[in-house]
């Protein structure tokens, strides 16, 4: 193992210059913007995928909610591409940093809630109380619902961070185990290697799923508040 287990998670600097902004900007190279009607294979595949996802995501929203389409689609593309690129060896994943995920989650959540409070104050406040609660429970339930409302951005950020970080760590650890076991007993090492392969498949899935979940939840909060 390197210096410590978390060496791959420090923000990369080259001779003291932080290049993390460059790293965050790099995944956008993978999404060329279509300039003509008949595009390359990559662009047409991306167009088709984006149409599919957009339709699924935006079907349940009203007209006002659909103004968020661009934001949500760029969100899911960004998170998906950064997570997938982070699976390559020796690469840095920006979404492992809690700072960045908080920076994504808090403004989006706050925008959804404030929109709701501005335009439909009564309905937003009504969300704080589930239907059909017995009267004595009401004060306690309102407090609980308020707390759960304020926890939403934290949950969004921490969920993404924890999942991706845990996945990378696990791959690192099992790789280390395989490395050590190769000299002790190659058979066990091969079993561990198989576990690693399965884990990699899981990581690919997790990368995409996390992006989806994040975006879905934001869109859910939006739906509540439009």
């Amino acid at each position: 193992m390197n210096e410590n287990l978390f060496a791959s998670f420090i923000t990369p600097t080259i001779v003291g210059i932080p290049i993390v902004i460059l790293i965050i900007a790099i995944p956008s190279i993978l999404f060329p913007s279509p300039t003509r009607l008949i595009t390359s294979r990559l662009t047409s595949l991306q167009q088709w995928l984006i149409q599919l996802v957009l339709k699924q995501l935006m079907m349940m929203h009203s007209i006002k909610g659909r103004t968020w389409s661009l934001m949500l689609i760029s969100l899911i593309l960004f998170i998906g591409s950064t997570n997938l690129l982070g699976l390559l060896p020796h690469s840095f994943t920006p979404t492992t940093q809690l700072s960045m995920n908080l920076g994504m989650a808090i403004p989006l959540w706050a925008a959804a809630v404030i929109t709701g409070f501005r335009h439909k104050t009564k309905m937003s406040l009504a969300h704080l109380l589930p239907q059909g609660t017995p009267v004595p429970l009401i004060p306690m339930l309102v407090i609980i619902e308020t707390i759960s409302l304020f926890i939403q951005p934290m949950a969004l950020a921490v969920r993404l961070t924890a999942n991706i970080t845990a996945g990378h760590l696990l791959m690192h650890l099992i790789g280390g185990a395989t490395l050590v076991l190769t000299s002790i007993s190659p058979a066990t090492a091969s079993i561990t290697f198989i576990i690693l392969i399965l884990l990699t498949i899981l990581e690919f899935a997790v990368a995409l799923i996390q992006a989806y979940v994040f975006t879905l939840l934001v869109s859910l909060y939006l739906h509540d508040n439009t």
Partner: protein
């Protein structure tokens, strides 16, 4: 690195090298530049262009480059130039997985993308065909209208000659009347001439005496009555 290799192996047209442009005429550099070759350059193992293998073939035969590669890898491992780390195994698993997926599903995904483009083209083509057909229909209708107009010219001719014929009948009637009047006059003249020819002097005297006798009778009858 792959892009760099393909750039370096733009070997065939030497005019694409900017250094030799001074030997050529103006515009040849721009005209002969190759952007994307239609067939991709041959590449082995996804990383190393075929030219490298051809370059080593005369000296080392077919296995040369492979032995060189293996030697380099073993050398870097044994001298710890490349350190085995947990990353190595995750690299092997990630890259291995990617290669497997691409080899298995690459062609079908490419075909799917081509099909998407094909759909777009066919939609636009459809619109073009419909538009062409509409315009063709309009042209045909226009032509048939023009033909009708030509034929209408004949219709007018027939009507004109009909009306002229009708007028001609009227004129003919008028002229016929005049002709018949003239004929009648001529017949009367013929009759008068015939009468004058066939009545002799003798008959004239007899008729005149008879007439005087008749007149005398009439005068006697008239004397009987008082003169008013």
């Amino acid at each position: 690195p792959r892009a760099a290799w393909t750039f370096a192996h733009h070997a065939v047209p030497s005019t694409s090298c900017p250094k030799s442009s001074a030997l050529l005429g103006p515009g040849v550099l721009q005209a002969t530049r190759v952007f994307h070759p239609a067939q991709p350059r041959k590449i082995r193992l996804g990383l190393i262009p075929e030219e490298f293998f051809q370059f080593l073939y005369p000296k080392t035969g077919v296995t040369g480059p492979y032995v060189l590669g293996t030697g380099l890898i073993l050398y870097s491992l044994s001298k710890e130039i490349y350190v085995m780390s947990p990353e190595t195994f995750s690299t092997i698993s990630v890259v291995g997985l990617l290669v497997y997926v691409i080899k298995k599903y690459g062609a079908s995904i490419g075909e799917f993308a081509d099909k998407l483009n094909e759909q777009k083209i066919s939609q636009v083509e459809e619109m073009k065909q419909v538009s062409i057909k509409q315009i063709q229909d309009v042209i045909d209708m226009e032509k048939s209208q023009q033909a009708l107009v030509q034929k209408r010219h004949y219709l007018f001719d027939v009507q004109w000659s009909n009306s002229v014929m009708a007028l001609g009948v009227e004129v003919k009637n008028c002229l016929d009347y005049h002709i018949s009047v003239q004929n009648m006059m001529r017949q009367q003249e013929h009759m008068i001439n015939w009468v004058e020819k066939h009545i002799s002097a003798q008959q004239e005297k007899e008729t005149i005496a008879k007439r005087i006798a008749d007149l005398k009778l009439l005068a006697k009858k008239a004397k009987a009555q008082p003169v008013l």
